[in-house]
């Protein structure tokens, strides 16, 4: 197996991991009924944009431009999650949301973005100057890309139901958009 092919498969793995992280956050939102805060939503966008860089590599072949997209997205995402970590860094503070394996989700988010930055560095070293031609999408890669598209779409719908068309509240407790739709259907003001 040549390095270019190996790097291509690592890109597919990276997109799969990002999709699973986003799906996990979404499952946590639905299962525990815990609504994501606006900064959490921005972190999801950062993850999606980083995933889009990997998807560009899968769709059009390995290219430094695509890695650049992922790097910039991961930097913005890391800045967003670092901001939220710093907001809750007070000693003995409870933080925001549930703790998962000893860390809050926004701290895991920061770890994810730093891992992406590290991973892209490694991928750039492996890929080198070799630009692969436009690859043929295998069944597995089509499945990963399809799942990613589904997660992106689900997040759009969820955000619309949570915030509606206006600014999200800083500490969301209910689906405002959904309530507006319900009141619009029933004709009763909320």
């Amino acid at each position: 197996m040549n390095l270019s092919r190996f790097a291509y498969q690592l890109n597919a793995l990276a997109l799969l991991i990002i999709t699973l992280i986003l799906a996990g956050a979404f499952a946590e939102q639905l299962y525990f009924g815990e609504l994501p805060c606006p900064l959490c939503l921005l972190q999801r966008v950062g993850l999606m944009a980083a995933g889009l860089g990997f998807m560009l590599n899968l769709r059009f072949g390995l290219h430094p431009l695509h890695y650049g997209v992922t790097l910039i997205a991961a930097l913005v995402g890391a800045a967003t999650s670092a901001r939220q970590v710093l907001l809750h860094i007070i000693p003995d503070g409870m933080g925001y949301g549930k703790v998962f394996f000893g860390l809050h989700l926004y701290t895991w988010s920061f770890v994810s973005f730093v891992s992406i930055l590290f991973g892209v560095g490694v991928l750039l070293m492996i890929s080198g100057s070799a630009h692969s031609s436009t690859p043929k999408l295998t069944r597995w890669i089509k499945l990963i890309v399809g799942l990613f598209l589904l997660v992106v779409f689900a997040n759009l719908v969820s955000t619309l139901l949570e915030c509606g068309l206006s600014e999200c509240p800083s500490d969301p407790t209910k689906y405002l958009g959904l309530e507006k739709i319900r009141s619009w259907i029933s004709g009763v003001k909320p």
């Binding site: 805060c37 606006p38 900064l39 939503l41 921005l42 999801r44 966008v45 950062g46 999606m48 944009a49 889009l52 860089g53 998807m55 560009l56 769709r59 059009f60 431009l65 695509h66 997209v69 910039i72 997205a73 913005v76 995402g77 800045a79 967003t80 901001r83 939220q84 907001l87 809750h88 925001y96 890309v145 990613f148 598209l149 992106v152 779409f153 997040n155 759009l156 955000t159 619309l160 915030c163 068309l165 600014e167 999200c168 800083s170 500490d171």
Partner: protein, 50 residues
Amino acid sequence: MYIVFLMSLVSTVLILMGRRSLGVTATLITVITTAVMLYLDMTTKLQISL
């Protein structure tokens, strides 16, 4: 907030349709919009932090 998710979805569709330049541009616009929202939050012009 929904606008950045909409832009992400548009970027994904553009890439899948084979529109590389438009896909890259849309993704970068999404990232820049996110960065601007973060900046506005940090300068307390947009109250989205807890």
